[in-house]
Structures are given as structure tokens and as C-alpha cells.
């Protein structure tokens, strides 16, 4: 009798350690990408004599990469369904151009313009979704066609000219800051709110992790060992406060950082915690099984592309704001950056797997590469070569790993 219980206990303990190992492995994989990010950053810090850690450069990194990050959130959903959206660069340009024309030529109030442009983005997405989900045209073709269509339309409405300059109320979105409170510590000027925000978010993160662990333990689910949580939190908090400190030493928190932050939270929540997110994974993983499980697969495809349109509209506003103008060539090859970000971030080419955090890290890797190579004076041509090779290496490595483990 007691023997049996001992046996059983052994078994459950065994199970738990196996589960823990699995969780550890998952974590390592996720943090492997982060490690790559650090490594690249460190290499460029060396090569540029620390120039890429300068407060202004950190600020630039955030602002320059905001649109790619925003786009890669939507692109990840497309990638999850084993497709891509090639039209986003053109849609970004088109929406930015439309916004600039409305504000400059028609003097429409800026908030109204933003609302109209976001709706426009949604409509563009629905237009593509209609062809993809209802008429069953392959997304690659639909978005390729619309890449041409919207690039062309951008040229038409701008008459091939740059439209600018945009008023300050507009550029605020891409180049402005959250309210600033400067104080002086010794001879250095520091923006207080950025520091406070960094510390507050750190506290929230610790609280969330503790709640998460407590909940798991309450239901006797497997949890990773406590040291892993501590290491993870330490790293994340260190990075976070490094960034906020640097930003505090410059101009404080950029508005786009807040936009990105909120979007990342929302999209992480959607993919991790909602039925809608789960359905996207299922459709990408096995469309037949998803359909036979009662999922309306066409509807899923429709909303994935509609959402992409919305985010392209938003990125269009942010880009125009940052440049203080709309140009016919704006957003050129953004689709490729966003797609590359998703794949570098571990999204599977055959669909059904990938994470928001991965896509964001992928976008940041691309951003740090761009930024670092510019700082050390490599030409744009070489930059493309390097980015291409990094993408190739990342996906090859990922596929090789998966094949080995299966």
C-alpha cells in the first residue's frame, strides 16, 4: 500500500521534473534570440566605440524602428497563417500621403485626419481580406498586386512630389515626447518621468511574475525553477532601465515608445490569451483540422489581413510624422523588414508557430544592425548584404534546430 503511494509520488515528481526541463528549454530558446540581440549590440558597441549606446542614439533606435515594430506585429499574424503581406510598404506610403494631403491641402483637423486614415487602413485591409477570404485568391498574389496598386496611387495623389512640411501637432506622433520633467543631477540634465516609468514598469513586472507563479503553484502546475524567474526578471529589468536611463539623459520618453509598448501588450495578449489568437495559430498549423474543429477559417484570414491594414495605416501616420512630410517613396521595402523580423524572431515559414515577442526582437535585431552599420560608416549596399545574410542564417539555424529535435 505505502509502496504504491511512494511509487506514485516518484512518478509525479518525475513528471514534474520533465515538465520543468521542457519549460526551461522553451525559455532558453526564447532567450537565445535575446542573447543574439545583445551580442549584436555589443559587437557594434565595440566597433563604434560605444557610440551606439549614446543617449541620442538610443532615442533614434526607438524612433527609427517604431514603424517596423508596429508592422511586424501584424505581419506575425500573417506569418502564423503561413502567408505574408507584401503590400504594407505601399499602404504605409499611401496612408501617410493621404494624411499629409488632408492636413495640408484640406486643413482637416489633425485628430479627425488620424481617425480617417486609420479607417482607411482598415478598409484597405478589408479589401485585401475580401479577395483572400471570399474569392480565395492566394494572399501572395493579392498583396503583390496591391503593393503595385497602392504605390501607384501614392504617386498619383502626391503628383510624384513630397508633401510637407507637416504641422507640429502632426509630427508630435512620430518625433514628439511624453510630458517632460527635467531635473539636474550635478551637471547632467535628467528627465525624471522616464526614470520613474522605468522603475514603475519594473515593479509591475515583478508583481506579474509573482502572481503568475503563485497561480501555477496553487493549481499544482509545473513552474520553472525560481532562479530562472529571477535571472529572467533581472535581465529584463536591467535592459528596461538601461533604455529609460539613456532616454532620460536625452529628451525623455518618445510618444512612439508608448504607442509601441501598448500595441505589444495588446498583441501579446491577443496571441496568448484569446480565442481569436488561438484560432490564428490553428489555421496556420493545420487549416483542415481547424475547419473541422468548427473554426471559420475564412473569417480568420479576413481579420488577419484587415488588422494588417489597420497597423499599416498607423505606421503610415507615424512615419509621416517622423519625417514631417509624406513622400512617394516612403515605406519602401518596409514589408521585407517586417517579414524578416518575424522570421528572424522564430516564426515558422510553414505557419502555425511564432510569437509577438520574437517578432519584436527580430525587428530590434534588424534595427540595431541598421543603426550599428550606419554608425561605423558602412554603406547602405553593404548593409543590405549583411541583413540578408543574417536573415538567411537565422532561418537556416532555426530550421536545422527543429529538424534535429524532431
Amino acid at each position: 500500500m505505502s509502496n504504491i503511494t511512494v511509487e506514485q509520488k516518484k512518478l509525479t515528481i518525475n513528471n514534474i521534473t520533465v515538465e520543468q526541463k521542457k519549460l526551461t528549454m522553451n525559455n532558453l530558446k526564447q532567450y537565445g534570440m535575446m542573447l543574439a540581440l545583445f551580442l549584436i549590440y555589443a559587437i557594434f558597441a565595440l566597433l563604434s566605440d560605444g557610440k551606439n549606446a549614446a543617449p541620442m542614439n538610443i532615442n533614434n533606435l526607438v524612433m527609427q524602428n517604431s514603424y517596423v515594430v508596429i508592422l511586424s506585429l501584424g505581419m506575425l499574424l500573417c506569418c502564423l497563417t503561413a502567408n505574408v503581406d507584401l503590400s504594407v510598404g505601399s499602404v504605409v506610403a499611401f496612408c501617410g500621403a493621404a494624411a499629409a494631403i488632408m492636413v495640408i491641402d484640406y486643413h482637416i483637423a489633425i485628430p479627425v485626419t488620424f481617425a480617417i486614415v486609420l479607417v482607411m487602413g482598415v478598409l484597405v485591409g478589408m479589401w485585401q481580406g475580401f479577395f483572400i477570404a471570399v474569392l480565395k485568391v492566394p494572399p501572395f498574389i493579392v498583396t503583390l498586386a496591391n503593393m503595385l496598386v497602392f504605390r501607384g496611387l501614392t504617386m498619383v495623389i502626391l503628383n510624384g512630389q513630397t508633401k510637407g512640411p507637416l504641422p507640429q501637432g502632426f509630427t508630435q506622433v512620430g518625433a514628439g515626447y511624453l510630458p517632460q520633467v527635467f531635473i539636474h543631477i550635478g551637471s547632467t540634465k535628467v528627465e525624471l518621468l522616464a526614470l520613474v516609468a522605468g522603475i514603475l514598469v519594473s515593479i509591475v513586472l515583478i508583481g506579474l511574475e509573482m502572481r503568475f507563479r503563485r497561480n501555477k503553484i496553487k493549481h499544482s502546475f509545473a513552474v520553472t525553477p525560481i532562479w530562472q524567474s529571477i535571472v529572467k526578471l533581472t535581465v529584463v529589468i536591467a535592459v528596461l532601465n538601461f533604455i529609460t536611463l539613456k532616454l532620460a539623459l536625452y529628451m525623455g520618453l518618445p510618444l512612439v515608445l508608448l504607442i509601441m509598448f501598448i500595441l505589444i501588450l495588446i498583441y501579446s495578449f491577443i496571441t496568448n490569451n484569446t480565442v481569436a489568437g488561438r484560432q490564428v495559430y490553428a489555421v496556420g498549423g493545420n487549416v483542415h483540422a481547424a475547419r473541422l474543429s468548427g473554426i471559420n477559417t475564412d473569417k480568420v484570414m479576413f481579420w488577419v489581413y484587415t488588422n494588417m491594414g489597420f497597423l499599416a495605416g498607423l505606421a503610415g501616420i507615424v512615419l509621416a510624422a517622423r519625417n514631417a512630410s509624406a513622400t512617394p517613396k516612403a515605406g519602401d521595402s518596409f514589408e521585407m523588414d517586417a517579414i524578416a523580423a518575424c522570421y528572424i524572431g522564430g516564426a515558422a515559414v510553414q505557419g502555425g508557430s511564432g510569437t509577438i515577442s520574437g517578432a519584436v526582437i527580430g525587428a530590434l535585431i534588424m534595427g540595431i544592425l541598421n543603426n550599428g552599420m550606419s554608425l561605423i560608416g558602412w554603406s547602405v549596399d553593404i548593409q543590405r548584404v549583411v541583413k540578408g545574410l543574417v536573415l538567411l542564417a537565422a532561418v537556416t539555424f532555426d530550421l536545422y534546430n527543429k529538424r534535429k529535435s524532431s
Binding site: 513528471n15 502546475f221 495559430y281 483542415h288 473541422l292 468548427g294 524532431s406
Partner: protein, 515 residues
């Protein structure tokens, strides 16, 4: 009297430990039509695949002696060089190429190193096509515009173009109507006169006894007997007995049925093919299932059982569906799979990898996929704790052998994968379960466990419909069996009168009915 063209000796072949062929011996005389008969999965197709080099030399044991010479085929090409051509059940024509191109596919006439001589191709194509009775065809016509019957003839013409000596036909008439079958069978007799030896695999015993000179019966991967046609025709009953005569040991759990009222009723159900909307796939099917009852759907492959089940499951298959479906006396109008699930109907698909599972996801995600909305979410947000609890419970209840509900299902064995699919549909809390080949390709132990799950589902008052191609399985676990053939209910057998011979007889009679 006649010389042997082919002798296969002691052929054995296994698929990762499962014996598909076990000491098969086959002797084919020159110039005869030799039929291979046996149940689904008996090993007929495996045997001809060994012969034609689909499974290359070295992956099986035993000898193939063809024209007195030991053969070691590495691929289909090497067997074709010797004049052995196999025509598979699924035709291998390229739909968007012309008739002439298809006839010489892989065998192009290239007098000048890789450049096709189209005039010669056309002349020779016309020649072989006339041999199979296709005289006035436009050779540039694309193959996909032709019917299945003509496509089958083109396959044979293609074989003739390769100078075939031993022609193997796998279920050649399965997709043909009577008239087309007749043409094909006559052609086989004509080819025989021209000295071509023919091996045919067929379920249609009336056709077999009409054209075959000898019949070899295969059962459970072994050759049971070879029946020679002497003066009188070979009796179908004799073949059936050879096909099914296996010993039944205790492979099924004890079943004490407690059967209640009719809960599920289908009347005059008609379904048309979604591809060819003039073709009726299901014809006036009516059936009833009671609560606590396990009802089997027996039939040959392609009889329409899967199509029937899927059409009932929220019109997941078919066009122009008509008829009534009732649950607990109330008429159901299901227009989507979602409707079906909301009305507590579940369908466990026959191909778990293709239609049942998201292989790269873990157990947890797969198990809750069909009930995310109804059970595991609130306002679209997933209730993670409940999801973990429920899936953990089911993992234990149906004994899925894995360490964790977070294991990727693609890494599980077939039996455990099948259990995950079952768990997925059990979690949707259905009243009516349609199980399509629930034990295909899994080992005996796992099968027993699945049967136990089916029993316990019935015990809780659910109505269960099981489709299976393994007849002993249906006889072992069902309370009643409907026999489906060519989209119609060919008969119904009550538990008291269960026997394989009886079921086979009903199928054969139904096949024979049109003659």
C-alpha cells in the same frame, strides 16, 4: 502446362515493426489473368508495390523471380524496363497535359537527345490508343476533360506504350460505372489473347470470377490459397470464406449494452459531390441511432461512409444536400461545422494527421480546439487554468502516454495521437459521436483502449456511429451495423446475426444488383 512468368517466394515486408506481408508465395502463369483478393489492409497493394519496385530491393525479404531471373528492382523504372507496369487505384495522369503527352510521359520519343519528336509521338499514341479501343479521340485534348473510364484506358495505353508484358491493375474498376467496367474487362481479355499477363486486385468478386483464370486469396499479409479456374466458374462464396476466415480471439472488451430511445435519425439523405455536382455520392440514406448504442457503418473503401458522416457533420462535405436529420425528435438544420458542434455532434476524422490534429501544437491546445468558445473562454479570453485542469484530467482518463500536456502531439505515437483526437471531441461534450476509422494504423493494445473508450461513451448514453474498414472490429464493438455500398444503405445487420460472411454477402449482392 503453362510456363511461369513470375514467382514470388517467401516475401516478407514490415513497416516499423508491423508485418504487412508474411511469407507470401505467389506464382503467376504466362498469359493468364490472375486476381488477388482480400480484405482492406490484407496486404494486396503492398505485395504489388514490392513487385513493381515501389518498395525497393532490400526493404523486403524474399525473392522475385521474373522470367526465370532473380530480380532486384530499385525503383519503378527498373521494373518497367523488364516490362512490369503497375496501374494504381489513384490514376497517375497529369490533368493538364494532352492525351498524347500523357501516354508517353516518362517514356518520351526522343530520337535527337532530349528533343521530342511530336509527329512520331502522335503516330504511336494513335496506335496504342486504338489497341485499347480509343479510336476517335483528339490527341491534343487535355486529360482532365475526360471521364474516369477513358482515363483508365489511357493508363493502359500508357502501359502498352512501354511494351508491357506483366500488367498490374489495382482496383481498376473501383471508380467506373457498369458500362465502363465492362469495356475494361473485355479489354483485359483481349490483352490476354495478345499474350499479356495480368494481375488484378479487385473487391468485385463477380468481375473476378468472370475474367480471372486463377485467384490468390490474401489475408493478414499471408497467401491463403490459390484457386484455379477449371471448367466451372469459381464460386464467390468460396472466395469470401478464404478472405475472412480468421480466428477471432478476445480482441474486444466485453460490452453490456443498455440501449435507450432513438436520439439520432436521418431520413432520405442525399449528397452530391462538390467536384462533380451531377454525381450523387449519397443516395437516399436513412438511419437511426439510439442512445447508448454503437452503430457501425461497414462497406468497402469508397463506399461513401466518410462522405455520409462528414455531410451530417454540418455539411463538412458535399453539395446540394437534402434530407432531414433529427436529434431527440427535433429537426436539425446544420449549415456549418460550428452549428454541428453547438448541437452536440462530434466527428472524429479518419486521417488524424491531416484532418484531426495541429501536429506542431501541444496536447492542451489540440484537446481544447473544438470547445474553446463553449467551455474554455469568457468574452473571448481563454480561461487558462480550466484549460489545463480539463486537459490534464482527460490525459489521465483515457491514458495518453506522455509526460506532459505541453508535449507536441506530432511526437506522439499513432495510438496516443488518436486518443488526443478522441479527447478533443469528448471535451466538446457531444451527444452524438461520428468516429471515422478510429483505430486506423494503431497497434492492438491501443486499439483495445480505444474500444474501451467507445464503450464507456456509449455507457453514458451517447449515440456512437463507428466507421471502420476492418470488419472484425465492427463485429466486435457494435450493437448494429449498416452496410453501405455505393452511397446507399445495402443492408442492416443486428447483433444476433453478426458474421463477416453475412456482411460480405450483402455487399456483394448489392454490387451484383445492377447487373
Amino acid at each position: 502446362m503453362a510456363e511461369f512468368i513470375l514467382e514470388m517466394r517467401h516475401i516478407e515486408k514490415d513497416f516499423s515493426g508491423v508485418k504487412a506481408l508474411d511469407d507470401v508465395n505467389l506464382i503467376i502463369k504466362k498469359g493468364e489473368i490472375h486476381a488477388l483478393c482480400g480484405e482492406n489492409g490484407a496486404g494486396k497493394s503492398t505485395l504489388v508495390n514490392v513487385l513493381s519496385g515501389v518498395y525497393p530491393y532490400g526493404t523486403y525479404t524474399g525473392d522475385i523471380i521474373y522470367r526465370g531471373e532473380l530480380c532486384k528492382f530499385n525503383n519503378i523504372r527498373s521494373s518497367e524496363k523488364k516490362g512490369i507496369v503497375i496501374i494504381h487505384q489513384e490514376l497517375a495522369l497529369i490533368p493538364y497535359l494532352s492525351i498524347a503527352e500523357n501516354v508517353f510521359l516518362g517514356n518520351e520519343i526522343t530520337p535527337h537527345k532530349g528533343i521530342i519528336d511530336w509527329d512520331e509521338t502522335e503516330r504511336r499514341a494513335r496506335d496504342v490508343l486504338s489497341k485499347v479501343g480509343l479510336v476517335n479521340e483528339d490527341l491534343s485534348q487535355m486529360v482532365n476533360t475526360l471521364g474516369v473510364g477513358k482515363q483508365q484506358l489511357i493508363e493502359i495505353a500508357k502501359a502498352l506504350a512501354k511494351k508491357v508484358e506483366l500488367l498490374i491493375l489495382d482496383e481498376p474498376t473501383a471508380a467506373l460505372n457498369d458500362e465502363e467496367s465492362n469495356i475494361l474487362l473485355n479489354l483485359m481479355l483481349k490483352l490476354k489473347e495478345q499474350g499479356i499477363t495480368c494481375i488484378m486486385i479487385s473487391h468485385k468478386l463477380n468481375e473476378v470470377s468472370r475474367v480471372a483464370d486463377s485467384i490468390t486469396v490474401i489475408r493478414d499479409g499471408r497467401t491463403i490459397e490459390t484457386i484455379e479456374k477449371t471448367d466451372k466458374e469459381i464460386e464467390e462464396d468460396r472466395i469470401i470464406k478464404g478472405m475472412v476466415g480468421r480466428e477471432l480471439t478476445n480482441r474486444y472488451p466485453q460490452r453490456n449494452s443498455s440501449i435507450g430511445d432513438v436520439v439520432f435519425e436521418v431520413k432520405d439523405w442525399n449528397v452530391y459531390s462538390p467536384i462533380d455536382q451531377t454525381r450523387k455520392v449519397i443516395n437516399n440514406v436513412s438511419l437511426t441511432v439510439r442512445s447508448g448504442e454503437v452503430v457501425g457503418l461497414a462497406g468497402l473503401m469508397g463506399a461513401g461512409r466518410t462522405e455520409l458522416a462528414m455531410s451530417l457533420f454540418g455539411k463538412a462535405y458535399g453539395k446540394n444536400i437534402s434530407g432531414t436529420m433529427m436529434k431527440n425528435g427535433k429537426i436539425l438544420n446544420l449549415n456549418s461545422i460550428k452549428d454541428a458542434i453547438n448541437n452536440k455532434i462530434a466527428y472524429v476524422s479518419e486521417d488524424r494527421k491531416k484532418y484531426g490534429l495541429v501536429l506542431q501544437n501541444d496536447l492542451k491546445w489540440n484537446m481544447t480546439l473544438a470547445s474553446l468558445k463553449s467551455r474554455f473562454s469568457k468574452h473571448g479570453v481563454i480561461k487558462e487554468n480550466e484549460e489545463i485542469h480539463a486537459t490534464e484530467d482527460y490525459r489521465k482518463i483515457i491514458n495518453i502516454k506522455t509526460n506532459s500536456i505541453e508535449q507536441i502531439v506530432g511526437s506522439l505515437s499513432g495510438g496516443n495521437q488518436q486518443k488526443v483526437v478522441l479527447a478533443k471531441w469528448m471535451l466538446s461534450e457531444p451527444d452524438i459521436l461520428l468516429l471515422d476509422e478510429p483505430t486506423r494504423g494503431i497497434d492492438v493494445g491501443a486499439k483495445y483502449e480505444i474500444y474501451t473508450v467507445i464503450n464507456s461513451l456509449a455507457d453514458t448514453g451517447k449515440a456512437v456511429i463507428v466507421i471502420s474498414s476492418e470488419m472484425p472490429e465492427l463485429l466486435g464493438i457494435c450493437d448494429r451495423i449498416y452496410i453501405i455500398n455505393e452511397g446507399e444503405i445495402a443492408g442492416e445487420v443486428q447483433k444476433e446475426e453478426f458474421s463477416q460472411e453475412r456482411v460480405m454477402k450483402i455487399i456483394m449482392n448489392h454490387i451484383g444488383r445492377e447487373k
